[in-house]
């Protein structure tokens, strides 16, 4: 008797699709959870200077909206949270001078969350920052 190949292929196909969908939705849920936790950290630590809309403050605190600092190199971004910054930055020819304190007392997960939140808020869209990435940067 000939095995019914076609139904089996269809079965496997749908099964993998379901798995993939589950995986995507699982990652999506994870991302959303990280963003939600990150917002709490942002509100407690970042909001005063960078403001509710991430737009920063004229000549003092830089905006977090679509800048290379936020969307670019994760390593540099994580290091700013860990070490703070007292050099000032220039964005679109405007200098932002204020000192940023170190936030190394936050956990690796909290830093990953807040950066994931910032990279996915205020019109930003960039990959999540993981706890492992923060851990690696802290060890440097």
């Amino acid at each position: 008797m000939k095995k019914p190949m076609l139904p089996m292929v269809i079965c496997i196909f749908f099964f993998s699709m379901t798995l993939l969908a589950f995986k995507t939705s699982f990652l999506q849920t994870q991302l959303q959870a990280s963003i939600a936790r990150g917002k709490i950290v942002y509100t407690a630590r970042c909001l005063t200077c960078h403001q509710v809309d991430g737009g920063g403050v004229q000549n003092m605190n830089p905006p977090l909206i679509k800048t290379k600092w936020v969307l670019g190199d994760k390593s540099q971004l994580i290091q700013i949270i860990l070490k703070g910054s007292n050099t000032g930055v220039t964005i679109d020819d405007i200098e932002y001078h204020n000192v940023m304190a170190s936030h190394k007392d936050l956990s690796d997960l909290q830093i990953a969350d807040v950066l994931t939140y910032v990279r996915n808020s205020f019109g930003n869209k960039a990959k999540a920052v993981t706890e492992a990435e923060v851990k690696a940067e802290r060890a440097k």
Binding site: A44, T48, V52, G55, V57, N59, H97, V99, A101
Partner: protein
């Protein structure tokens, strides 16, 4: 052929649109009387009888300004515009607007003042002066004299606001390069350094000679200390003393969340006006003034809890305004154009807050404090409002204009500068 036809059609259409637009603008031209009271995007709210005219616009970061005896207005820019850090505005036909606009001084900064035939202007490290000739022109715009040099500027409170008295002295604010002299600046829970080492070279007003070249710290003296940062300052000719507006400390809640709620953080501490004398101490960083308790409170970095009082040796403020409004300009009115109640009173220009978040931001206005015999004689009131563009722009802190400097014209009008877009308003009293 067809393409040519459609191109011509397009050209004709564009012509019509442009002509219509021009006509529309032209017809507006007849009614600019109304528009004169606005920068194109905001309308200032003033007490009855007062009128604001846009004297100049789009200058960029217009910080402080000074008016010469002939009415020329000099504006100091925080960023160079076409290579110039100072803009001269001259109203050649007396219509209340500047027609003759020119620039010089290839350095950015905040401070500017005119005294005894010299224009003084500062960078974040130096003070220069330019000689004015008998026709009220700058003698040598490319070669100012360097009066003060080598002042500290470290990424916080860098602006060197300046003022002169009538006895040959120059006063320079050297802001503290710190929020509250914590061991780690703006670090949650970090305690204060005691004594605060910043006070040796910053966090006060320094006094220099107005005519001696290349002075630095050793040539000047620390006239007043314990002032975190001063941007608005003015010599009061009725008391013959220097009055200053201090920018109070930030982030009580962020740094000490167990002691201060976000609401308390928004209101505290007061933005204080002080009358200075040689040797004045206003208490920063050890204390701050709480305008609700009417007390000098020990800063949490130095063991305070929001209630413990301290600073018995520190001066009390002359006026205490709500927190974080950022007073950037101060003027004691000596003109005769405004009604009697304004004589010798103080106009304070509030740049607007950022440190009230997550509570709504406030400020972006000019207030008036009546004075009698050198002391406040009544409550402060808002004099000019609407710079931000409306309550929603004030609340978000995304103000269209941020008022910064103030100066009085020979005819008794006042000028207000905006360092966001660089609008200069002239405010006059037209009568009832």
């Amino acid at each position: 052929m067809r393409q040519l036809f459609s191109k011509s059609l397009y050209a004709i259409l564009m012509f019509c649109v442009v002509s219509l637009y021009a006509c529309a603008n032209d017809s507006n031209g007849d009614s600019t009387k109304k528009d004169e009271t606005n920068a194109d995007d905001v309308t200032l709210k003033l007490p009855s009888g007062f009128r604001a005219v846009v004297f100049a616009d789009n200058l960029g970061g217009a910080r402080h300004l000074a008016v010469n005896v002939n009415g020329d207005v000099y504006v100091k820019l925080s960023r160079l515009k076409n290579g110039n850090g100072i803009i001269r505005l001259r109203d050649t036909n007396g219509d209340g607007k500047a027609e003759d606009i020119s620039g010089f001084g290839n350095f950015p900064g905040t401070g500017i003042a005119i005294k005894k035939g010299f224009l003084y202007a500062s960078t974040d490290e130096e003070v220069y002066r330019f000689k004015l000739d008998a026709n009220n022109n700058i003698v040598n715009p490319d070669k100012p004299e360097k009066i003060v040099t080598g002042l500290l500027s470290r990424h916080e409170h860098e602006a060197k606001a300046i003022e002169l008295d009538n006895d040959g002295n120059l006063y320079v604010n050297i802001g503290a390069y710190s929020n509250s002299c914590q061991m780690e600046d703006r670090q949650k829970g970090s305690m204060g350094m005691k004594p605060c080492p910043i006070l040796d070279s910053a966090g006060g007003i320094w006094q220099f000679k107005s005519d001696k070249l290349n002075q630095t710290y050793g040539d000047g003296n620390r006239y007043a200390t314990g002032l975190r940062n001063v941007v608005g300052l003015n010599w009061n000719t009725s008391t013959n003393t220097l009055f200053v507006m201090q920018h109070g400390r930030d982030q009580l809640h962020d740094l000490f969340p167990d002691m201060y709620s976000t609401k308390e953080n928004a209101e505290l501490p007061a933005e204080c006006m002080y009358e200075l004398h040689k040797g004045s101490n206003c208490g920063w960083p050890y204390i701050y003034y709480d305008q609700i308790q009417h007390k000098k409170i020990l800063a949490p970095e130095y063991g305070g809890d929001g209630r413990k009082t301290a600073g018995e040796d520190a001066q009390d403020p002359v006026v205490a305004f709500p927190g974080h409004l950022a007073p950037n300009g101060l003027l004691f009115y000596t003109g005769t154009q405004f009604p009697e109640k304004y004589k010798n009173g103080a106009f304070v220009v509030f740049h607007g807050s950022w440190n009230r978040a997550p509570e709504p931001q406030e400020g972006y206005f000019v207030v008036f404090v009546p004075f009698k015999n050198g002391k406040p004689s009544g409550n402060w009131e808002v004099f000019a409002d609407g710079f931000s563009g409306g309550p929603e722009f004030t609340a978000s802190g995304r103000a269209k204009h941020r008022p910064c400097g103030i100066a009085q014209a020979p005819d008794g009008s006042i000028y207000i500068s905006d360092d966001s877009k660089g609008t200069i308003w002239k405010i006059s009293y037209a009568g009832k």
